[in-house]
Symmetry: D2
Subunit: 331 residues, 4 copies
């Protein structure tokens, strides 16, 4: 039984708190949020205690693991303190928006060999994971091309996006990680961005649509397309193409009902709009993987390094966008 504290009780923190609470080999010991009432609401719902401070949590020898779901700008500080307190850490992405701070963080905590897992939830989606396992098992031979479609249902307010680090660091970062999960290390990045949706996003100097092409060290090419708005829901698909064929991982729907009518046939449900529903099984599996790795002394599927590498790709994409040049990554 792994005892957890959850730091940050916003929407995603509360979801993680519930998942930990429901996990048969995990126990939620405490929750904390800088906004006391968020922590209290979560604590009340799940019947756990509210920690008075981060210090209390880190000092508690009964707490083995912390889940960091507070705002991005606190991640490095909490990661560092938790690592020093010898807690196992499950940290929501991104580590930070600044690659320099991420590097500095690792210089400080790396020597402690902390157990850190990054919350790249999509690696745990049953369809994406099955696709990746089948690619790895050689079902389509050598992987040659990947197409990642990743479109959000609707943009967050420009106000929020102002602090998000921009499309590549905030949204594409998941797709950069997925590219690495499927195709391995990336050596070249080309990006094109556009403002097609929300003038408020342009006003803050960000883009709301993008097409990126990557080259992997393996030789494989990867295409990512992003949109901040998608009329039919949260569109999340992957196509893996190789020597022997292709694997597609599609969207999941609430039911398997289809309609045949005068105007259209075989029409299926709209796909889910909300990331917490879309990736429900993935978030469950993420907690399970964390517990499992911790119990068995294994390295998690996504560690600190994965957070760092994805951010490097986001920065490279931004550079390509600015210069109109392919960016070559030194390794």
């Amino acid at each position: 039984m792994i005892r957890f504290a959850v730091l940050g009780c916003g929407r995603i923190g509360r979801m993680h708190a519930r998942n930990i609470h429901a996990h048969p080999r995990a126990e939620l010991a405490a929750v904390y949020d800088i906004a006391a009432e968020a922590a209290e609401a979560t604590a009340a719902e799940l019947g756990v205690k509210v920690a008075g401070s981060v210090e209390t949590v880190l000092a508690d020898p009964d707490i083995e693991a912390v889940l960091i779901a507070s705002s991005t700008d606190t991640h490095v500080d909490l990661l560092t303190r938790a690592a020093k307190a010898r807690k196992a850490i499950l940290c929501e992405k991104p580590i930070d928006l600044d690659i320099g701070r991420v590097e500095a963080c690792w210089r400080e905590i790396g020597p402690l060999q902390p157990f850190v897992m990054l919350g790249f939830n999509r690696r745990f989606d049953p369809s994406f994971k099955a696709l990746r396992d089948r690619v790895t098992a050689g079902e389509i031979g050598k992987l040659e091309q990947v197409v990642i479609t990743s479109r959000d249902p609707a943009p967050a307010p420009a106000e929020y996006l102002k602090g998000s680090g921009g499309l590549f660091r905030d949204m594409t970062i998941h797709d950069f990680d997925m590219a690495r999960y499927l195709a391995g290390d990336i050596v070249e990045v080309q990006a094109m961005g556009a403002n097609l949706i929300d003038p408020g996003i342009e006003a803050i100097g960000d883009i709301d649509a993008a097409m990126v092409v990557l080259r992997a060290a393996s030789g494989a090419l990867v295409h990512i397309n992003n949109s901040r708005r998608c009329a039919y829901g949260y569109d999340q698909r992957i196509e893996a193409f190789g020597e022997k064929g292709m694997l597609l991982a599609g969207n999941r729907r609430p039911t398997e009902v289809e309609r045949w009518g005068k105007d259209a046939t075989a029409a299926k449900d709209p796909i889910l709009h909300f990331f917490i529903e879309r990736y429900r099984e993935a978030y469950d599996a993420e907690i399970d993987h964390f517990v499992d790795c911790l119990e068995k002394g294994r390295k998690p599927l996504a560690g600190f390094e994965e957070g760092y590498e994805a951010l490097k790709l986001a920065d490279a994409a931004l550079e390509s966008l600015r210069t109109g040049r392919v960016v070559r990554l030194s390794r």
Copy 2:
């Protein structure tokens, strides 16, 4: 090069005339219709001559084959005369609505060993044919269950249906033949009918919806469902279930486009409404099969016997409907 005459230049006769005209190894020599202007229109379109009478056609030694597409009540007479004139015959279904007349016809022409093919077009549909070939090749092991869905887009006027012989002889007859094509000889028939669509059909003593269950001599069970009206087009599907799996043959659409929108996703085109479009490839293949069998001295896939057996099943279904009993067919 097989030289044909087409007898009957209504909608279906004209279509056959065009297909014969376009076939590389067939030649349309003449057309005939009791309504001279129908014959003339077809002749003008295709640049062929109008025959002055059936006699002229049958007496012409250069005409090797006749396609009978006139009204059902003339089929037996034309079949008999054409057989006596030693023409090869492609006759639209049904042979006749009266089983006694069909039997009498065969007693008369059977000894002449005529080359007769019945127009059961669905046997030539690429999807149904592929399904049947794969079943025959053993892909799903022993065939155990068949489900045939057969729904017309809209009922013909009750006035027309009055002379049609009723749902089973007019519409289900295709499905009875399909059941035999897939599962072989049928030994039991159970039928339930209903009036759900058009009160005019009930008024003439006919039904407009039906569910039939058949047992084949092989042991396989076959279900047929029929409706005289179908909002989304001409619904023609077959499911073949066996020891090792299932094969489904679905509807064909004009394009492969699908739409993803707010209210529905992966919505495809409506299916085709008109039988001549739906079975275009099947009608082409039917002429090709006739020419091929004639050239090579082979028995066609659907001969006089198939027309006779399908009609026997229609009569048995009608008896089951009237008596509420399963009807056992003696062989």
Copy 3:
């Protein structure tokens, strides 16, 4: 918070125990099984107590509800005693294999107006429920035809099936209930059965495949096809056809991955084989519905009457099978 006891800790009882335990507004107070070790295993897993006897459970004023998941031949006795003890009851189907005993049971407990829900899990499957809700909402106009496909992955041993009451009472009973759920009261039953799969099933006088046609009081026709073995998994589909179109509810797969290769394209996962996985969401929703109805004083979606009516249809199908006649149900 509804406090439950589970009577019967076999495969399905244990699953229900887990679902009750996980439900936020239910509490598992005790489990009981005639085989003490089954009860102990379940109790240990979930941290609840083992009841020493049925009497103890029924006498416990803190237990509000009992879930009956013991062997079929004990259902009537437990239902009767639980009703007299004023417990709310969730009883696995069937009530009994003998319609006379079911009627006698109701004569005895009916006057007590017990809260009884029958475990017709399929009514709670998200796809089937959505299909039914959309039919009810008029999306396809008047319902005219229903096709229910229901095929088990593999037959239980003939030894077990000997006591099952036969295919119609053991397996089709779910489909009879589904027919009523969708089309309402049934007035005619026609059935054809076959032995296609397991000679051991024929040896005990049972069938292993069947096709049934029903007529509803509404006029709608319903077809059910069953097989005791299905190579590609647990095939559970429904087609509802009406004036304005068709709704199909298909099978659910573990992932949304498809494969494109040399021999086949767009090939999806096999479907689930095991009923507990296939209907996982349905079983969860079933407990939720029970709790909800009990809390709000509502009639459950499937009560004692639904168990009785489904059994009557099974008996009528058996009579049709024996007599080769359509069976008309008096109401």
Copy 4:
């Protein structure tokens, strides 16, 4: 009735000859090929005459239109001579591999205002055309993103590819035209290429896989991915994404049969491998469009300019590949 001569009787010329022959408002008057026996075989098959020389064809006042299907290096010369002879021209793509020669050709023939249609067959594919018509009709609102998948079944021999002008001019040229057909004028090109399939292709300095991103003047982003080899056939798909949703145009299969078995479910046929089969309907429609435009004095959907613009994009992609920079097109 438009009278045609076909210049070039290789695989594609012969196919066009057949299609012209079968068209109700076209007549094939003559065929010519530098290799006399190719012309004779086509002439014999279709019962038309062999022209003794290009001069003979161009001098024949009864020939209204010429279809140029000879080798690429002869296109400019034949186009020029045919334009001067006042023939209507249907020319296979590309006009030439050298943009300078294409420009010079137009300078010479432009003033004659010739009727020239380029053989961009994909514009006439029923699915791609329907997708485009629906985008144009506003079904998905403003077009924002396009994803074009275009993979050949197998590479031509490196020997042949040596003279092809490279992947972008030989293969992607169709996709560049499709991008323009859907999204209008293109203003930026970014390309990444790879050698993943055939070392012989690398040896001749060409690539065998590519990912390209384009920006249209409208703001839309377009992604193209190409592979010279595709295990499951000739993969030709388009995704159009806009404000109100998405339209997908998929691959067509020979039948609508799907297989459900132990290892996979809903598995469909492999897709077609051969471009002449895949685009059969498109090639028919192309001839029909040419005849129609000529009869009605309309501008064809793809004229000389489309051939020129697609080649410019191919050259820009090549430049991007060489420089690693986005190439901006001046207009």
